[in-house]
């Protein structure tokens, strides 16, 4: 990348900038993207005999309950990520996985349906990113972010307990300014902060061509219900809601150990929208009868990245995870893994110039960004469904019928499963929506839902839970 301030950034020659023995690599942020980057960078460097000093700059302590140690996220580790990490040798222990998710419950005003995992196996994990909500008392689990950070430390990374405060370029190298007054010179700097961190603005202001991502606001609230009560009510299902509440795009209720996490996605989320959702009969039915929605343990309204920068890299600097390019609405942790690993691979094997990142890291970001375009189309479809009662009934009818016939092709169930779980690329999901057999099945269910007698009998029958 050619920065506007050409004198401060070393021009890319496509081959000149490479990591060498003894180089210092800074990683800003110890969320999944930062820890994955450090872990894979050190693993690959070790394979090729490259000796690097990696420092992760992070002021938060993930052992602290409440927002001080939290990264404000729904906390779902997708089916594909669980598999990919296991194949990489990173197995998530039972102390980190708060609950294995074995099914999805789709709730709509026209009924509910339980969608079983294709293999009847726990392959989706609900985790606490930090050490739990504000009122946590019994601390007998490990934070997901802390677990990944320990993996990176195990590979040789060192944690610097400081807050990053700004960036300067000196003699073509990044200099990270710390709030405590320190100035750290690095040969490579990986920025892996979230979009809610104020430091992202400082990177935009540094004149390296970085632009902060476009964002939207979400809502996350935690409730303490207790493990046994959760097992009896919500179970090991993630409950998702397609309701006709204005401005509400999507909502989910996720069981985690002693807690339940409520996540909302929509336009201009405010207290009125939250209350409308929590008062909806479809939501109340998931919780115990005496549940009081106001008795919350913790809540936040974080931003999420909905469109990343075009070029999340520069000479010796790259942006991974949420402050770079991430997946739309779903599987942000999976996107952090993919981008962090691609960035580490590029740095070790291809170089650390903007040209090297453009050739090898850029395509991975580009693939995610292109898939998000398909994701937007898929979410347009769900928006249409939310506004057409007959379409909702058709989806419910088709899914219920598929779930009652094990062994047969489950087209709608598969589409819904992958939409909710984030397990497949949006492109795959969208193309499956257009398959003739799927369209024909939906058209038939749609027609039956239009027929008054069939629709009426369907209302009585087609709830599977």
């Amino acid at each position: 990348m050619r920065a506007d301030s050409g004198e401060t950034l070393q021009a890319s020659d496509g081959a000149g900038l490479r990591l060498e023995d003894g180089n210092r690599v800074g990683v800003v942020g110890a969320g999944p993207a930062g820890s994955f980057f450090a872990y894979f960078l050190l693993e690959m460097a070790d394979r090729v005999g490259l000796d690097l000093r990696v420092e992760i700059v992070e002021s938060r302590d993930f052992l602290q309950p409440s927002p001080q140690g939290c990264n404000m996220c729904g906390g779902i580790v997708s089916e594909s990520l669980v598999q990919n990490l296991a194949a990489e040798g990173i197995n998530l222990p039972a102390t980190v996985i708060q609950r294995g998710i074995d099914s999805y419950h789709l709730h709509m005003d026209v009924g509910s349906v339980r969608i079983e995992t294709p293999l009847h196996e726990m392959r989706i994990g609900a985790v606490h990113r930090g050490s739990g909500p504000r009122d946590v008392q019994l601390h007998d689990w490990e934070s997901f972010d802390h677990h990944l950070l320990q993996k990176a430390i195990g590979k040789g990374a060192r944690v610097v307990r400081e807050r990053a405060d700004g960036l300067e370029i000196e003699a073509g190298r990044p200099v990270l300014k710390l709030r405590g007054g320190g100035r750290e010179h690095y040969d490579l700097l990986a920025v892996a902060v979230g979009v809610n961190s104020p430091i992202v603005q400082a990177f935009e202001a540094a004149g390296i061509g970085y632009t902060t991502p476009a964002v939207t606001r979400t809502f996350i609230r935690e409730y303490h219900l207790g493990r046994d009560l959760i097992s009896r009510t919500i179970g090991s299902s993630m409950h998702v809601f397609l309701l006709t509440i204005p401005r509400l795009e999507f909502a989910a209720v996720i069981p985690k150990g002693d807690y339940v996490t409520v996540c909302l996605l929509g336009e201009d989320i405010d207290n009125e929208l939250v209350k409308a959702f929590l008062d909806a009969p479809e939501v109340r039915r998931c919780f115990p009868p005496d549940w009081q929605p106001d008795l919350k343990s913790c809540q936040c309204m974080p931003h999420i990245n909905v469109r990343g920068p075009d070029r999340p890299y520069s000479d010796r600097i790259l942006f991974v995870g949420d402050c770079g390019v991430t997946r739309l609405y779903k599987d942000g942790i999976g996107a952090a893994y993919r981008t962090a690993k691609a960035a580490a691979r590029t740095a070790v094997f291809e170089g650390i110039s903007a040209d090297a990142f453009h050739r090898c890291y850029g395509p991975v970001c580009g693939t995610i960004a292109a898939d998000n375009v398909m994701g937007r189309l898929a979410f347009v479809f769900t928006r249409v469904v939310r506004h057409m009662r007959v379409a909702r009934k058709a989806i419910l009818r088709m899914t219920v019928a598929e779930q009652r016939r094990p062994g047969e092709s489950r087209r709608m169930s598969g589409i819904l499963w992958d939409m909710f779980s984030g397990s497949a690329p949006y492109k795959d999901i969208f193309l499956r929506m257009l398959q003739p057999a799927c369209v024909a099945g939906f058209a038939w269910a749609f027609a039956r839902s239009l027929w008054p007698a069939a629709a009426a009998s369907g209302d009585r029958r087609e709830t599977l839970s």
Binding site: M44, R47, S80, V82, Q83, N84, A86, A87, E88, G89, N91, L92, A94, T95, V96, I97, Q98, R99, G100, L119, H120, E121, M122, R123, G125, A126, V127, D140, W141, R227, S231, G257, R338, K341, A342, R345, V364, T367, S423
Partner: protein
């Protein structure tokens, strides 16, 4: 303690993979132990035992052939299934994901070489004894 576990529980003797079947997945053992059993002419020979963190059934990812051996739980075991389609898609994006499989296969080839050497020695010793 949280009750979150990944994968599926297999009781003692339960089959994960059956010899002769077409495979479309591999497994990562999360807990416990499984044994790899070769079935031939009505006889069963335990070839190997593998434990937590180990990959099994990886040949199905790359070969269009039936499973070469049966894998069954030896005691209670927990294993995570890795889909062939998901994994090949990931390898296509990032070939280094296959590095661990290459490592696993290399270790197994080394183990097999050691076993072949040992068996040849035993045969040679047996031949001398008969002579």
């Amino acid at each position: 303690m949280s009750n979150g576990v990944m994968g599926r529980i297999y009781e003692d003797g339960e089959i994960l993979v059956r010899q002769g079947e077409v495979g479309d997945c591999m497994f990562v053992i999360q807990e416990g132990e499984v044994e790899i059993v070769l079935e031939k002419d009505g006889h069963q020979t335990v070839l190997n035992r593998v434990g937590a963190g180990e990959l099994i059934g990886e040949m199905a990812i790359f070969l269009h052939e039936v499973r070469s051996a049966t894998v069954r739980a030896s005691g209670r075991a927990r294993a995570l299934t890795i889909d062939k389609k998901n994994f090949l898609r990931r390898i296509n994006e990032d070939p280094s994901v296959a590095f661990r499989i290459v490592e696993t296969m290399s270790r197994r080839i080394r183990g097999l070489s050691d076993q072949v050497g040992e068996l040849r020695n035993q045969l040679r010793e047996a031949g001398r004894t008969e002579a």
